[in-house]
Amino acid sequence: MTTAALPKRIIKETERLMTEPVPGISAVPHDDNLRYFDVEIHGPSGSPYEGGVFKLELFLTDDYPMVPPKIRFLTKIYHPNVDKLGRICLDVLKNNWSPALQIRTILLSIQALLGAPNPDDPLAADVAKSWKEDENKAIATAKEWTKNYATP
C-alpha cells in the first residue's frame, strides 16, 4: 500500500466510476488501498461469455497514468488473449498505452476483447490453437467455462 497522497486523477476516476458507472462494468477500490480495485465485467451479449460475470483485479502503480494499470482476470476464462494466470494481451495495456486512457476505457477495451477474441495475437497458445482449428468447439468450451466459473 502506498503512503503517498492519492493523485487527483485517481480520485476523479474513482468518483466517476461510482457516479457514472459503465453498464456491465463495475470497479470498486479497496478501503485500505485506493489504488487497488475489484472489477467485475459482464460478458458481452452475443459472445460466448454472455451471462458470465468475470472478476478482475486492477492495480494502479505510482507511475500511473504514465504507465498502464496492472490488471488480470481472477475468474477462469477460456479466451485466446487471456492466459491461465488471468493476464491479458491487449495493446493498450502495453505499447499502445496512453496516459489519456483511463480505467474506464481500459475496462471497456477488455469487455470488447471478450466480444472479439483475437487468436492471431494469442497469449494462451493452446486456446488460440483450438480457436483457430475448431472455432465452434472453442466457443462451446468458452460457454461451458463461463457457465462453470463465471455464473454467479
Binding site: P7, R9, P99, A100
Partner: protein
C-alpha cells in the same frame, strides 16, 4: 651662573618686578613695515595678542622662535630708541634688553606688541611642588632680590588681563646638548617649535641651531604630529626638551594658545650633559583670548569641515587634544572645580582620562608604531568608525530597557480637526508628546548651571603662597571639560529639548500620531491669529519685516522624510484632516516654492502652510548652498531662513552618522519643537543615537565628548552594563517606543494584525544551472582555503565576499554572473536566427494558422479549421488535463497535433518515452511528438474577450527560481485573480530578468528601485495602489526596504536571502503592517543545496548565539566571521 648663549644674567629681569600698573602701552599698533618684515610680529599677532588692550599685569613669556630672522641685529639702547622713534622708559628698556636675546628686531617687536610687559612682574619660581620633596621651599634663591615685594597688596584690575595665573607644577625634561649650565631657580623659557627644515641662514651665531639637526627623529616620528616642547635659557638657546609625557599635552595647550608657560629650574646636574634629566617648575597662565569668541569660531568651523570626509575632523581633533590637555593640566596643578554637575561629577575625571587613553590607544594602533614614546602623538584617528557595532542581542536588551512602556499613561484626545480615530496607545503617545512640547510652560526655569560646565575659582595665591592680582568680579572661570571650551561668563543651562523621539516599531502609525500632534498643538500666535485675522489687514500677504536672518514660522511644521515617502506623507496628512483644516505642501524639486520665508512668516499666517514636506536631499542641498556663501543666511529664503514651529525627521536614522553632511544640515535647522521618527533609533552603534540626540539638542548629551566619556568609552572598555544604563537614562525621557508584539495588560496586541505565514520554497537548480553554480563554488572555495592557509582571510575578505556574491547571484539566475552585454547580444542574435528560419518563438495562433494555410493552400478550409482549432484549444483550457485530471490545466500546452495537456504532464510523458528510447507519440492521436513542437498557450485575460496565443515551449526558459516564482504567481492568479503581490530582490539585475517572465505570463507589474526619480516613484506607488487587477510590485530590497506602505498587497515573494533576516523582515513589514486586513503569506525562494541554504543557517545561528551581553571579544567575532564563510563554503 651664566646661561649658555645668553649675555644677561637671569637676575636682571627681577629688578622690575615691583609695580605692575605703570607705563601703559604707548603704542596702538606696530608699524606696518615691521609687521610685514618680521615673521615674528606676524606670528605674535596671530597668537591673539592685542597690543592696545595689553594693559594689565601679565606674566608669561611668549614662545619665541629662536631662529626665525635671517638678519639679526644686535641690541643697543640707542639703536632701539632710534627704531622706536621715541624715548623709552629706562625700566622698560632694561626689561626689553634682558629679554630680547640681544636681538634688535625682537626687541622692537616686543616693545610694540607689548609683550615686554609680560616680563615685568614675574613671580619667582619656587620648588615647593609636591613633586620635588627633596627640595624644600627656598624662597628667593641667590638671584632674587629686594625688588620683589611679597607683601605687595594684590592688584585689582577691572577686566581679565592678557594672561592670568592658574597654577604651577613640576615636570621633567632632558637635555639635548651638553655644556649648558642651569641652576636652581634659573628662569627657563618654554618654547614650542615645529620641526621644519629651515634655511641655514636662519642660524644665529650665539645660538645653537636645534632645528637643523633634529635629534633622533625616526622617519615614522617625523610623519606624526610634532609635540616637542623645548626649554631654553632666558636668552633663548635650547637646553633640552620636556619629557614626552608632559610635552604631549603641554604642546596642545601652547599650540592652541590656551595658556603660556614659564619655568624655572628646580634641579639640574652641575654640568649638563646630553640626556641628563632636568627638573623644571612650570607656571601656567591662562590666556584671555581663550575665554573669548570660542563658540563663534567653532560654529563657523563646523560648517567648513563638513566639506571634507575626514574621519575625525581636524577641528574635532584639536578640541579633543585641548580638552584632554586641560583635564591633565587641572589634575597636575591640583585645581578642583568649585561647582560641577552632580551627575557628571561622579566619575568624570576618570572617565575623561580613560576617554583620552582610548583615543591614544587608537592612534597607536593606527600608526602601528613600535615606539611606545609616540603614544600621544595622535595622528588623525579613525573616529568615524568609533563606536563598535552592537551585537543584535545587545541591541535587543537595550531596546527592552527602553521599552518600559507604561500602559497607564494618560491619554489625550486629538483636536476636532483631526479626522481619524486613534487607538488607545496612540492617544497615550499624543498625551506624552503634548506634554513634551508644552514642557516650558509648566515650570518657570531658573538659571542653573549648564550641566556640562564646571566652575573653578581663580587662585588668589600662587604656588609660593604669594598673593596674586585680582580681577574685579572675576573670582571664577568656567570650563567645559568635555569640549575644552572655557568661559568667564556663567554658562546657563539651555532650554530643555521640547521634543523627542517617537520610536514605535514600524506599522504602529508614527505618521498618524505626529499628524494628531500637528492638529492638537498649535502655537499660541497661530491660534490667536487664525481667529482674528480673517477680516483684518493682517490677512493680507506681506513681506516679513525682517528679511534677513531667521524668521519665525509659528504655524508651520517641517517634515523631512526620505524622498520616496513625500507623497505618502502628503496623502496621509490629507486623509487625517477634516477638509480645509490642514494645508500641506511638498517642497521638492521643481515644485519648490521660491520664497518659503515670505510664505510662512508670521505676517502671512492665514495663508501659511501647516505642513511643509521635504526630503533630506533638499535640506542638504540648501545647506550646501548656504555654506558656500559662508554660512550667511542673507538672501536665503529657504528652509534655513525660518524658525519652524516644529520639525519632524521621518526615518530619522537617516542622520545616524553625525559626520555626514545630511546630519550636519539637519542639526542646523531651527524650530521650537524637534521630533525624530524612527523604528530603529539605534541601527548598529550607540553613536547612531548620539546623532539623534544632537539633532534634538538635548543637553548635555549632544556634546560628543560627554557622550564619549559616559557611553562610548565604557562600552568599548566592555563595561556594557554601565554604558547601556546611561543610554537608558538618556532614552527614558526622550523616547516613546512600542513594539508590535507588545501586549496591553489584558493581553491584547496593540494593533491586532492579521496572521502572517512565512514559507521557504525550495528551488532545485537545473543541470545547466548547477554546472554554473558548481564552477563558481569551487573557485570561491579554493580562494578561501588558499587564504586560510596563508592566514590572510581577513585581508581577502572583500574578494571572498565578491565571490560569495557571485555564488548567490548564480542561485537566482546564471545570467546574473555573466557579462550583461554579452547576454543581451546573444539573446538578440538568437531571436534573429529564429526569425530568419520562420520560427518565431512567440507566435500567435493566427500566424501558426497562416503557416498551415500556406502548406495546404486552401484558404477557406484553413480559416474554418483555424477557427475550430482556436475554439478547441481555448475550450480545452477549462477542461481537465487528460493526464493528471487537473482542471483547468496547469500551463496548458498544445502539441503540434493540437492536443492539450498540462505542460508538466506532457513533458513528463515525453521524457518517459525518450528515456525508453521510444518516439513519444501524442497521448491522444499517437502522432509522433517532440519538445520543439510544443506550444504554451498564453492567455490575455485583460480584455473581456479571452484571447490566446501560442508560444513555442522550451525557448528562453528562465532560471529555476524564476520558473518557481511564476508557478506560484500563476497559481495565485488562478485562485485570486485580483490579488496584489510584492516581489523583493536585492539584485536589480535579477529584477530585470523577472520582468520578461512576468510580461510573458501576461501579468501586470510595476517596478521600484534606487534609480527611480521621486516623481516616478510616486507614480509607481499610485499605480500599484490603484490597480484593480492582478498586479505585481517588483522592489529592490534596498530601495523599498523602508518606509513604504504596501498594505494593498497580500503576498510577498522574497527572491533571495539577505545576511540578516531583520532586513528581510523589515521588507515583509511593508506589507504586514497596520492597515493590512488580510492574512499575509510570505514565500522565501531558497535554492536547494546552495549557499542560500547555508545563509539561512547562519541567519538562524546569529539569532541564538551570545545571548548574554559581551560574550564575544573582538577576536572571537573575527573568528566568527571566518566561521560564517566556512559554513557558506562548506
Amino acid at each position: 651662573m651664566s646661561f649658555a648663549g645668553s649675555e644677561e644674567p637671569p637676575a636682571k629681569k627681577r629688578r622690575f618686578f615691583a609695580d605692575s600698573d605703570d607705563s601703559p602701552a604707548k603704542n596702538d599698533a606696530a608699524p606696518e613695515f615691521l609687521q610685514t618684515r618680521s615673521p615674528l610680529a606676524v606670528k605674535q599677532s596671530q597668537n591673539g595678542s592685542n597690543p592696545s588692550s595689553a594693559n594689565g599685569p601679565t606674566n608669561a613669556p611668549r614662545p619665541q622662535p629662536t631662529s626665525t630672522s635671517a638678519d639679526t641685529v644686535t641690541f643697543a639702547d640707542e639703536a632701539f630708541e632710534a627704531f622706536i622713534g621715541e624715548k623709552v622708559d629706562p625700566e622698560a628698556l632694561s626689561t626689553i634688553r634682558s629679554h630680547c636675546g640681544n636681538n634688535l628686531e625682537r626687541a622692537v617687536n616686543m616693545y610694540f606688541d607689548g609683550t615686554w610687559k609680560n616680563f615685568r612682574k614675574r613671580p619667582t619660581p619656587i620648588s615647593n611642588s609636591p613633586m620635588f620633596p627633596s627640595r624644600p621651599s627656598q624662597p628667593q634663591s641667590a638671584a632674587s632680590n629686594g625688588a620683589h615685594v611679597p607683601s605687595l597688596p594684590p592688584s585689582l584690575s577691572r577686566s581679565m588681563p592678557e594672561t592670568r595665573y592658574i597654577g604651577a607644577f613640576g615636570v621633567e625634561g632632558w637635555a639635548t646638548r651638553s655644556g649648558a649650565t642651569l641652576k636652581y631657580g634659573d628662569a627657563v623659557k618654554i618654547d614650542r617649535q615645529k620641526i621644519q627644515p629651515k634655511p641655514s641662514a636662519a642660524r644665529s651665531k650665539n645660538k645653537i641651531d636645534v632645528s637643523a639637526a633634529p635629534p633622533r627623529m625616526s622617519p615614522a616620528e617625523a610623519r606624526r604630529v610634532d609635540v616637542i616642547v623645548r626649554f631654553t635659557d632666558a636668552g633663548g638657546s635650547e637646553i633640552g626638551r620636556l619629557a614626552k609625557d608632559a610635552a604631549n599635552w603641554i604642546s596642545s595647550l601652547m599650540d592652541q594658545s590656551v595658556c603660556n608657560f614659564e619655568g624655572s629650574c628646580v634641579y639640574a646636574p652641575e654640568r649638563i650633559r646630553t640626556n641628563d634629566t632636568v627638573f623644571i617648575q612650570l607656571w601656567c597662565f591662562l590666556k584671555r583670548s581663550i575665554f573669548q569668541g570660542n563658540r563663534i569660531q567653532l560654529s563657523s568651523n563646523n560648517r567648513s569641515t563638513g566639506l571634507f570626509e575626514e574621519k575625525e575632523t581636524s577641528e574635532e581633533r584639536d578640541l579633543r587634544l585641548r580638552q584632554v590637555a586641560l583635564v591633565r593640566l587641572f589634575q597636575e596643578i591640583n585645581l578642583a572645580p568649585t561647582r560641577a554637575n552632580a551627575a557628571a561629577a561622579k566619575d568624570s575625571s576618570q572617565g575623561l582620562l580613560s576617554a583620552a587613553e582610548m583615543d591614544e590607544k587608537k592612534s597607536k594602533d593606527a600608526s602601528k608604531s613600535s615606539n611606545r614614546e609616540a603614544r600621544g602623538s595622535s595622528p588623525p584617528s579613525d573616529d568615524a568608525e568609533e563606536g563598535e557595532e552592537l551585537e543584535q542581542d545587545q541591541l535587543d536588551s537595550l531596546y527592552r530597557k527602553a521599552q518600559s512602556f507604561d500602559f497607564n499613561t494618560p491619554e489625550a484626545e486629538p483636536a476636532d480637526t483631526f479626522a481619524m480615530d486613534l487607538r488607545p496607545y496612540q492617544k497615550q503617545s499624543l498625551h506624552w508628546m503634548l506634554a513634551k512640547e508644552k514642557d516650558q510652560k509648566n515650570e518657570a526655569r531658573e538659571a542653573s548651571m549648564h550641566p556640562l560646565w564646571e566652575e573653578y575659582s581663580w587662585p588668589v595665591k600662587d604656588v609660593d603662597d604669594k598673593d596674586l592680582p585680582l580681577v574685579e568680579n572675576q573670582d571664577s572661570f568656567y570650563v567645559n571639560p568635555y569640549s575644552g571650551e572655557m568661559s568667564l561668563d556663567f554658562p546657563v543651562q539651555e532650554q530643555h529639548c521640547l521634543g523627542g523621539i517617537l520610536a514605535d516599531e514600524m506599522g504602529l502609525g508614527k505618521t498618524i500620531q505626529m499628524l494628531s500632534l500637528i492638529h492638537s498643538h498649535k502655537s499660541e500666535i497661530a491660534t490667536q491669529k487664525s481667529d482674528a485675522s480673517i477680516n483684518s489687514v493682517n490677512g493680507l500677504p506681506r513681506l516679513p519685516s525682517n528679511s534677513h536672518g531667521i524668521v519665525s514660522a509659528p504655524k508651520t511644521t517641517l517634515v523631512v522624510a526620505p524622498m520616496s515617502l513625500l507623497a505618502q506623507w502628503q496623502s496621509e496628512a490629507e486623509n487625517a484632516s477634516k477638509d480645509g483644516t490642514l494645508k500641506s505642501i511638498i517642497y521638492y524639486g521643481n515644485d519648490k516654492i521660491g520664497d518659503l520665508q515670505t510664505l510662512c512668516c508670521e505676517a502671512n499666517l492665514s495663508s501659511a502652510p501647516d505642513v511643509i514636506i521635504t526630503s533630506y536631499g533638499v535640506v542638504l542641498s540648501e545647506f550646501s548652498q548656504m555654506t558656500a556663501r559662508k554660512g550667511s543666511k542673507d538672501q536665503h529664503t529657504g528652509l534655513f531662513s525660518l524658525n519652524f514651529f516644529r520639525i519632524i525627521l521621518d526615518e530619522g536614522h537617516t542622520i545616524k552618522n553625525r559626520q555626514s553632511k545630511t546630519a550636519k544640515a539637519c542639526y542646523e535647522l531651527s524650530a521650537e519643537h524637534r521630533w525624530v521618527l524612527t523604528g530603529t533609533p539605534i541601527v548598529n552603534r550607540l553613536e547612531d543615537l548620539f546623532s539623534l540626540v544632537r539633532f534634538l539638542r538635548v543637553e548635555p548629551w549632544n556634546n560628543f565628548s560627554f557622550w564619549r566619556t559616559f557611553i562610548t568609552v565604557p562600552f568599548e572598555s566592555k563595561d556594557f552594563m554601565r554604558a547601556l544604563d546611561v543610554v537608558q537614562t538618556v532614552l527614558e525621557p526622550l523616547v516613546m517606543r512600542r513594539t508590535k508584539d507588545m501586549k496591553t495588560p489584558d493581553g491584547q496586541f496593540l494593533v491586532p494584525l492579521p496572521p502572517k505565514s512565512v514559507e521557504v520554497v525550495d528551488v532545485e537548480l537545473s543541470e545547466v544551472e548547477r554546472d554554473v553554480y558548481d564552477h563558481i563554488f569551487r573557485r570561491a572555495r579554493s580562494t578561501f582555503s588558499a587564504n586560510i592557509d596563508k592566514g590572510t582571510v581577513m585581508k581577502a575578505y572583500t574578494t571572498i565576499f565578491a565571490q560569495i556574491l557571485r555564488l548567490r547571484q548564480s542561485c537566482c539566475h546564471p545570467i546574473l554572473v555573466r557579462n550583461k552585454d554579452i547576454v543581451a547580444d546573444e539573446e538578440v542574435a538568437g531571436a534573429e536566427a529564429d526569425a530568419a528560419a520562420g520560427l518565431s518563438d512567440d507566435m500567435d495562433l493566427q500566424s501558426l494558422i497562416e503557416q498551415f494555410t500556406a502548406t495546404t493552400g486552401d484558404e477557406k478550409d484553413a480559416n474554418a479549421f483555424g477557427a475550430h482549432v482556436l475554439e478547441q484549444i481555448r475550450d480545452e483550457a477549462v477542461n481537465e488535463c487528460p493526464i493528471c485530471s487537473e482542471e483547468p490545466m496547469i500551463d496548458q500546452t498544445v502539441t503540434g497535433c493540437w492536443h492539450s495537456a498540462c505542460k508538466k504532464c506532457l513533458l513528463d510523458y515525453i521524457k518517459r518515452s525518450t528515456d525508453r528510447h521510444e518516439v513519444a507519440r501524442c497521448f491522444n492521436c499517437r502522432e509522433p511528438l517532440n519538445t520543439r513542437g510544443l506550444f504554451e498557450v498564453v492567455r490575455h485575460d485583460d480584455d473581456s474577450s479571452v484571447k490566446i496565443s501560442l508560444r513555442r515551449l522550451g525557448v528562453n526558459e528562465s532560471s529555476s527560481k524564476v520558473v518557481s516564482l511564476m508557478n506560484h504567481l500563476r497559481a495565485l492568479r488562478k485562485e485570486h485573480p485580483r490579488m496584489k503581490s510584492v516581489v523583493f530582490s536585492q539584485f536589480t539585475s535579477f529584477m530585470s530578468l523577472i520582468e520578461p517572465a512576468l510580461a510573458k505570463a501576461n501579468m501586470h507589474f510595476v517596478r521600484l528601485d534606487g534609480s527611480i526619480t521621486q516623481k516616478a516613484r510616486a507614480a509607481v506607488l499610485k499605480e500599484f495602489s490603484e490597480s484593480d487587477k492582478f498586479t505585481i510590485f517588483l522592489i529592490s530590497l534596498r530601495a523599498g526596504g523602508v518606509g513604504l506602505n504596501l498594505t494593498q498587497a497580500k503576498r510577498v515573494f522574497m527572491m533571495d536571502p539577505w545576511w540578516s533576516f531583520a532586513v528581510e523582515a523589515q521588507a515583509i513589514d511593508r506589507v504586514h503592517r497596520m492597515g493590512q486586513d488580510d492574512e499575509v503569506k510570505v514565500y522565501r525562494f531558497i535554492t536547494k543545496d546552495s549557499v542560500e541554504e547555508r545563509m539561512l543557517r547562519v541567519q538562524d545561528r546569529k539569532k541564538f548565539i551570545a545571548t548574554s551581553l559581551g560574550m564575544m571579544s573582538d577576536e572571537e567575532k573575527r573568528l566568527q566571521k571566518i566561521e560564517d564563510i566556512k559554513e557558506l563554503l562548506s
